[in-house]
């Protein structure tokens, strides 16, 4: 036992310079070792390798001949002799000797591999394949045999076949680097650069990763986005985002959606208490009805304009991340506010009935008025949203502007208190005109002034067309303008 350990250490001592290709030193060390461990075959064979490397054929041959004589059952000396003949260029001799070796050791892995190797060198590929097949039969767990299987195809330059064989190598020996590296070389030789890189990376990411490229279902696993959103998709996006914003807003309070009713209910009650009960303005309480029929639509206007005017600027992060029309941002705000406003209108109607106003068919006209207000707010909101990024100071003026509109739209006073000569100017404010329509329908039980509404619609249409043109023009400038 001790002796074995000792000889192991001694072998290391001589093998070390071989690894550094210091053949002369190695040869000297093997010579020293031969004196002490002459019974070990490797001492002879390794020494012969050193001498072969040094070009000292004769010494190498002598050593090997001696080794073959001493160790009849060891094929290594035989194989090294073949290698020596090959190195000398004596190919015929090498072949003859290899055949002898194969006859003597027909089932030795190294010998069989070497024979196939020789066949490859001789371009006798079918013979090489046959020899390799026998080797793989006998040594099916031997990685080197399988690598040789693929190498035969490589040598043949049958790249497709080589790729298949390397795939088999990878399947059996996933940790074998050659299965990836050499396969990549085959793919490269075929001009498949991409596949070659995949193969190299597969060593890191695994076989399953590599296999996923060949699965046809991979393509169907992904969905391609359209080149540009069409109108329907854009509307869907605005709608879903507005709904989600409402959901998100509601989730921030513990009373959730109830606030949408509670909030207007509270402020209506405040107005009722102050004007209806405490001040008793307008005699029988008509003033409180007048006030609320104006205030409810105006509040909607104020909140919508306030929110949408800053929408594009607020959406600058997203605008620089995804390709999206800037119209998206104000429109979402407008939709979101419209959603919140609907229960408020229902409350207002409830309040009016509670106050003793009986509904008539004229109240149906409320719908077109609400829709028109929505259109008007969209045009104004989108216009301001577009303006604010270019002139950011404008944002500070918006609350004042809304305040100004509040006083110009006749929320708190009736139209007949305005001198005749100012009335045309008063009604040129579309919000004033709209509030007037609300009251015509709700309080006076009349049909609205359709021509007045027609003018607003016309104005909105012209404004809308102009706006969409402007939006198209500045669409690609906006991300940079807001990003600065």
């Amino acid at each position: 036992m001790d002796n074995t350990v000792h000889s192991q250490d001694a072998m290391e001592w001589a093998l070390a310079p071989m690894q550094q290709q210091r053949w002369q030193l190695a040869a000297e060390r093997w010579a020293t070792l031969r004196a002490a461990h002459g019974q070990v075959a490797d001492v002879w064979v390794q020494a012969a390798i050193c001498h072969r490397q040094l070009g000292d054929w004769n010494t190498a041959e002598e050593l090997l001949t001696e080794a073959i004589r001493r160790f009849e059952a060891n094929p290594n000396a035989w194989l090294e002799l073949v290698a020596l003949y090959r190195a000398k260029g004596a190919n015929e001799q090498a072949r003859t000797y290899l055949n002898k070796t194969l006859e003597r050791f027909p089932h030795q892995l190294a010998v069989m591999m070497s024979a196939a190797e020789q066949a490859m060198l001789d371009d006798a590929f079918d013979e090489a394949d046959a020899l390799n097949a026998r080797t793989r039969d006998l040594y099916s767990n031997e990685a080197s045999a399988w690598c040789q299987y693929a190498e035969i195809s490589m040598r043949r330059m049958a790249w497709s076949q080589a790729l298949l064989r390397w795939a088999e190598v990878r399947a059996r020996f996933p940790d074998m680097p050659a299965g990836y590296e050499r396969a990549a070389e085959a793919a490269e030789a075929q001009g498949h650069v991409k596949q070659a890189r995949r193969l190299k990376l597969a060593r890191e990411y695994g076989l399953e990763w590599l296999a996923s490229f060949d699965r046809p279902d991979l393509a169907s696993d992904h969905i391609a986005p359209p080149r540009r959103r069409n109108a329907a998709q854009f509307v869907e996006l605005v709608w879903v985002k507005a709904c989600f914003n409402l959901k998100s807003e509601a989730s921030q309070n513990s009373l959730r959606y109830f606030w949408w009713v509670l909030d207007p209910l509270l402020y209506m009650s405040v107005f009722y208490l102050v004007f209806g009960v405490m001040l008793h303005r307008g005699g029988g309480g008509d003033f409180i009805v007048y006030l609320l029929t104006g205030l409810v639509p105006f509040q909607w206007f104020a909140k919508t304009v306030q929110q949408s005017s800053n929408a594009i600027f607020a959406g600058r992060g997203l605008m620089n991340q995804v390709h999206i029309s800037p119209l998206f941002f104000p429109l979402v705000g407008i939709m979101q506010n419209a959603g919140k406003q609907m229960p408020v209108f229902l409350l207002l109607i409830g309040f009016l009935i509670f106050y003793g106003l009986h509904p008539t068919w004229h109240w149906i006209a409320l719908l077109p008025i609400i829709v028109l207000q929505l259109v008007l707010m969209s045009v104004i909101g989108c216009f301001l949203a577009l303006l604010v990024p270019f002139a950011r100071d404008l944002n500070n003026l918006i609350p004042t502007g809304i305040q100004f509109m509040l006083f110009c739209s006749g929320v708190f006073y009736t139209v007949d208190t305005i001198p005749e000569k100012w009335q045309t100017l008063f009604f040129s404010n579309p919000m004033a005109s709209l509030l007037y329509q609300y009251r015509l329908v709700l309080m006076d039980r009349q049909w609205p002034d359709w021509s007045g509404m027609g003018w607003i619609l016309l104005g909105c249409s012209i404004g809308g067309i102009a706006l969409s043109w402007f939006y198209k023009r500045v669409e690609s400038d906006l991300p940079r303008v807001v990003g600065q």
Binding site: R197, R198, L201, H222, I223, R229, V322, S476
Partner: protein, 220 residues
Amino acid sequence: MNGAPAGSEVIISLKDVGVRYRQQGGRFKKPGYYQAFEGLNLDIYRGETLGIIGRNGAGKSTLLRLIAGIIKPDTGRFINHGVTVSLLSLAAGFDADLSGVDNAIISGMLLGYRRQQIVARLNDIREFSELGSFMDQPVKTYSSGMRSRLGFAVAMYMTPDVLLLDEILSVGDADFKKKAEAEMMKKLHSDQTVLLVSHSEEQVNRVCDRKIELTSSSLT
């Protein structure tokens, strides 16, 4: 490394393109300009993986936004020969008060999907992100790793003709990072056209067919 794949089709061309940014000037002061890049000529071929390297401020991200169609050049011509282009951005448009499912839907829609396309993918997203029942919880309850896992799972199903990547995104904890990176690598090595912006030349060499380098004002 260089040299276009012979015979393949040009899908996007940039001809003598320049982009500049206006620097803080104010209303009454003449503004200065910062030139991100100029005189840039570049053809992008179908199926290639093109790496763009350059130092900070060389205009890499600007170039991606230009190719994505988010911004337009100040000079020169940018021609898209009819392909879809998307910048892969994680967690685009996330709302912390909404559930993972809702965020997946809206983020996916912002990236270009139809609503039903994402709804059909929700199970895959749930599985890939490994979020399980957390998908129904508000995103504000997520850790930052969970949030990026969700963002990654949504973005992963994107397959535009040209995918733009600002660095290889690897997110989450060690295990998910590996999975995410493998998935990114899959995209980089499929037949999809990919543009990868990176500060790491080594990474670009490893994964790209071709590379260009942006220097502060021109292209070499």
